[in-house]
């Protein structure tokens, strides 16, 4: 049985080390943010907040305290605001221990595609290319396959790329997999998921570090 989004977010949050500075992308990674309050982890928001807290109570939203998705947030004690120049210096300069990002596709070389569907015009890159290229670790958090069952973990991405050779680990609803030299190495599997099932829904070679 696949992990629920909530169960997966618990796993990701559990793998975040106390003391880390992290950025959590829109989509699934926001569920990770909900699990961090009370932990000594500082959450960065690329629009210029280091130390993002939970959403404010209704009626206490401030238009100048928002996350990259423009949702109202709060800050924690020890937070700092900064301008976009410093915020992206922080990102690009590998000062973030971790970025957790959504994904359309991840290749077995760690390439990430997560900003535009193929064949579409437009698309919004925002800070994703910088976060992917600059963070010390990039973890992709995604369903293992698309809605129509196509693998999202592939040999090579055919979707527009966000950055190349950056993802070190994938958290999917079926498994946790490390990117390992052109293969995915499974380090954890959802309960009841079989090796064959995982192989069938993955578009690249996989190996099993677990039995």
């Amino acid at each position: 049985m696949a992990w629920s989004n909530e169960a997966l977010a618990d796993i990701v949050a559990g793998d975040i080390t106390d003391g880390w500075y992290v950025n959590l992308g829109v989509g699934l990674p926001t569920l990770v943010a909900e699990r961090l309050p009370g932990r000594p982890v500082l959450v960065h928001s690329e629009n210029g907040i280091l130390g993002v807290g939970p959403p404010p109570p209704a009626g206490e939203e401030d238009p100048d305290i928002i996350d990259p998705g423009k949702n109202p947030v709060t800050i924690v004690p020890g937070a700092a605001y900064m301008d976009s120049g410093m915020s992206f210096a922080l990102i690009r300069g590998a000062h973030l221990d971790l970025s957790v990002m959504g994904a359309f596709q991840v290749s077995a070389d760690g390439d990430l595609a997560n900003w535009r569907l193929p064949g579409k015009k437009g698309g919004a890159i925002g800070g994703a290319a910088d976060l992917a290229a600059g963070s010390r670790r990039v973890w992709a958090m995604t369903t293992h396959t698309t809605r129509d069952g196509q693998p999202k973990l592939v040999r090579a991405c055919d979707y527009p790329l966000t950055a190349i050779r950056v993802v070190t680990r994938v958290y999917s609803d079926l498994a946790v997999l490390d990117v390992a030299n052109g293969r995915f190495r499974v380090i954890r599997m959802a309960p009841g998921v079989t090796e064959d099932e995982l192989r069938a829904s993955t578009g690249a070679e996989i190996e099993f570090a677990i039995q």
Partner: protein, 234 residues
């Protein structure tokens, strides 16, 4: 301490360091057709909405807008917005703009957010460009020069400047020293530096010397006009 402020107070029009103008309309009245306009803000935070509205009423032709977000549908009129440079073409009023991009009447230059920040900083700092790893191996390197340093490849991000910058802050003094509020700082300092004419809307204006000089987010040298628009948080 002696200072220019002492003079300006008595007869402010005699003090050319005094950047205060009376209205948003007056502040943008001479923005020329064909201008490249930098606009601060991230979503609604630190966004100079009053100046944007004043400039829409001024109805400039053939303008390029540079802003992280694309909330500029109000400039989509006959011969209006021709080019949008942003990282995130989304926004409350973006629909007509996105339709123009789709139809090919408006050009979109999509830039990673951090590269946009560095390009503006380079433009404001007299740098000929910066070497960034962001976008390497993606479509964001298409048409860009690649420069190798110690065996590593980087994209040469070129400086970006505006004829005009519209920015927002919380407080100003009459010289144009600005203090931002919370996450409203974002692109405002970078855009202030990178334009020939920088216009700031603020909630409050005080006299020189009333802001803590250690806590100025945008020094007055980067600001040409300041207008109090009120209505912001205390």
């Amino acid at each position: 301490m002696t200072g220019a402020a002492d003079m300006g107070h008595a007869n402010r029009h005699a003090n050319p360091l005094d950047k205060v103008v009376e209205s948003a309309e007056a502040a943008v009245a001479d923005v020329p057709d064909g201008a490249t306009v930098l606009v601060g803000g991230f979503g609604g935070s630190g966004f100079p909405k009053v100046l944007r509205e004043a400039l829409i009423r001024r109805h400039p032709r053939r303008i390029t807008v540079v802003c992280n977000n694309a909330d500029f549908g109000g400039f989509v009129y006959e011969d209006g917005l021709v080019r949008m440079i942003c990282s995130y073409p989304v926004g409350a009023t973006a629909k007509p703009l996105l339709e123009g991009i789709e139809a090919g009447t408006i050009e979109l230059e999509l830039t990673p957010q951090g590269t946009l920040a560095e390009r503006l900083r380079a433009g404001g700092s007299g740098l000929g460009g910066v070497l960034t790893p962001t976008g390497l191996g993606t479509e964001f390197q298409v048409g860009r020069r690649i420069i190798e340093v110690d065996g590593k490849s980087f994209i040469l991000a070129l400086p970006l400047r505006g004829d005009v910058a519209l920015i927002r802050a919380h407080q100003a003094d009459r010289y144009g020293n600005l203090v931002s509020r919370f996450a409203g700082r974002n692109f405002n300092p970078l855009m202030a530096m990178a334009a020939d004419l920088t216009i700031a809307e603020v909630d409050h204006i005080v006299e020189p010397g009333q802001l803590d000089p250690q806590q100025i987010h945008i020094p007055s040298v980067f600001v040409d006009r300041v207008v109090a628009v009120g209505g912001g948080p205390a």
